[in-house]
């Protein structure tokens, strides 16, 4: 199994902490991640609205680049940590195999750009790689400090289990919890683990995005979680950075840490904090079993 790494635009801007912790984690696990050379935007969600074919053409170029870089053995795994990238790459791969119209349009565009895609690349989300390739047991063996003080609300968000991923049940997924429990952390059983946070609406129809995110954080708190863990840079940004505004708007006093699952894994594996990007998130999770101590809330 060879892993190519597709960062996507988010991990180079708002999701810096995700990238840092992800790379540190894979290094610690001795699983090499090689960056896809000259990757371009995946064609994400917002683009789909304007022109789905163009979005898929963009994604297809990345798939083609992956074949160029690692050959067409069918072994190439393209690791896309951002849920939106993962979804669009997977969707494009599927549609290029099953939909003749998409094949025609995107195939033509690829050819014009000097590319072609033979369908040998499997887009993967790091959660899937960690649980199903590396294995929960292998990871559990490497745990240096167990995280008994954490009560985690594992938040899958929407696009990693829906609608294409086959590594977990789209309605009642469980891989995330299994992984976190292997670190000694507690997980809460909550019904909103795959409910959309509304990230794509935050910048557009803000009021709706606010209500959606707030309801998720509120339920996590109601279930007794002391940290929400996410697998997606958009969810993280969205759930974390608007808490101050939410408190004002909904007359509440939320201060819920929202961390990347890679950061939590890194903590358990004993990776130093400064290599996990904790300085790049606003409300860090409780670090020890003592009272929740999180950082200062964002100064605004």
């Amino acid at each position: 199994m060879r892993y190519l790494y597709y960062p996507g635009c988010s991990l180079r801007s708002t999701g810096k902490a995700y990238e840092e912790s992800l790379l540190s984690l894979f290094r610690a696990l001795d699983v090499p991640l090689e960056e896809l050379d000259d990757w371009n935007c995946c064609g994400a969600t917002a683009y789909m609205a304007v022109d789905e074919d163009k979005a898929m053409a963009l994604a297809a170029r990345n798939l083609s680049l992956a074949e160029r870089q690692h050959g067409r053995s069918g072994q190439t795994q393209l690791v896309a940590p951002c849920s939106a990238c993962f979804l669009v790459l997977t969707k494009t791969d599927r549609y290029l195999k099953g939909n003749p119209e998409v094949q025609k349009v995107v195939g033509r565009a690829l050819a014009d750009a000097g590319h072609s895609y033979a369908g040998t690349v499997t887009p993967r989300h790091p959660l899937d790689v960690l649980v199903n390739d590396i294995g929960v047991e292998t990871i559990a063996k490497k745990v240096k400090s167990r995280l008994g003080h954490l009560r985690l609300a594992c938040y899958y968000g929407c696009q990693i289990v829906r609608p294409f991923a086959s590594f977990d049940d789209p309605r009642t997924p469980s891989t995330f919890e299994k992984l976190m429990e292997a670190l000694g952390a507690e997980t809460v059983d909550w019904p909103l683990r795959t409910r959309c946070c509304g990230a794509s609406l935050m910048g557009t129809i803000h009021a709706v995005g606010m209500e959606m995110s707030y309801s998720i954080l509120k339920e996590a708190r109601r279930r007794g979680a002391n940290c929400v863990v996410t697998t997606c840079p958009l969810c993280q940004l969205n759930l974390e950075s608007f808490q101050q505004e939410m408190n004002k708007q909904f007359d509440d006093d939320l201060r819920m840490p929202v961390a990347y699952f890679t950061q939590i894994l890194g903590l358990a594996l004993g990776i130093p904090n400064d290599k996990l990007g904790f300085n790049k998130i606003i409300i860090p999770p409780p670090m020890t079993s003592g009272a929740p101590q999180g950082g200062e809330p964002a100064r605004v």
Partner: protein, 215 residues
């Protein structure tokens, strides 16, 4: 045809308060677009929604449906019957957050998210989306950035968006923006791909191929 019932103060329907503004709440067959369903079907890559049983699972599972003017189920019914203007001018399609819940839950396995994409695209090409609605602007900005650089910078995107839609909001969110920039979240130097020519060729290729396919 099909104007949304608006309400006046005291919660009374508008036409009770202002009888002059009474609108016919009836759909005449002549005002509908019989080819609309077929066109949307093409745009949605042949997605079949004609056998929708109107069960409402999509609406019930949708996290955004409480804010919509028409529930997703209604949208499907309206598309099927050719209510083009109502559908393309509604807020629903722009509220869709692409979370794919409806697509997963639909008992007829209709990919409703793809239908929503098709409708957005149709609305943009017909210029029928609600004015001041930021989403089409965002999408178009996104589009421009990627065409230019192959990658997008979320920071620039947000700026562009707020400038174009709502100046006041920018100042309100400025504080947050500044926090994020300070924490290194939003790099102001945009990244680019090396092979910019390829991106251009790719986009042009899609346009050419689409033209051939649809003509």
């Amino acid at each position: 045809m099909g104007s949304k019932p608006s309400t006046a103060p005291y919660g009374l329907p508008l036409h009770v308060v202002e009888p002059k503004k009474v609108r016919l709440q009836i759909a005449f067959q002549s005002e509908l677009d019989p080819a609309f369903a077929q066109r949307v079907k093409w745009r949605a890559h042949g997605e079949a929604f004609l056998n929708c049983i109107q069960c409402g699972t999509c609406s019930a599972t949708c996290p955004v449906s409480p804010y919509m003017d028409y529930t997703p189920r209604k949208i499907v019914a309206m598309v099927r019957e050719g209510f083009k203007n109502d559908v393309l001018q509604c807020l629903t399609i722009w509220l869709c957050a692409s979370c794919y819940s409806c697509t997963v839950e639909c008992p007829r396995q209709i990919r409703i998210t793809d239908v929503m994409y098709a409708l957005k695209r149709e609305a943009i090409s017909e210029g029928l989306y609600p004015k001041k609605l930021p989403t089409p602007v965002l999408a178009t900005e996104f589009f421009k950035q990627v065409e230019k650089r192959g990658r997008n910078s979320e920071a620039l995107l947000m700026m562009a968006l707020y400038w174009k839609t709502n100046l006041v909001k920018v100042f309100r969110d400025m504080k947050l923006g500044m926090t994020l920039i300070r924490m290194g979240h939003l790099p102001l130097r945009p990244e680019s791909v090396r092979a910019k020519g390829e991106i251009k060729a790719l986009m042009d290729g899609v346009e050419k191929a689409e033209k051939e396919l649809w003509s």
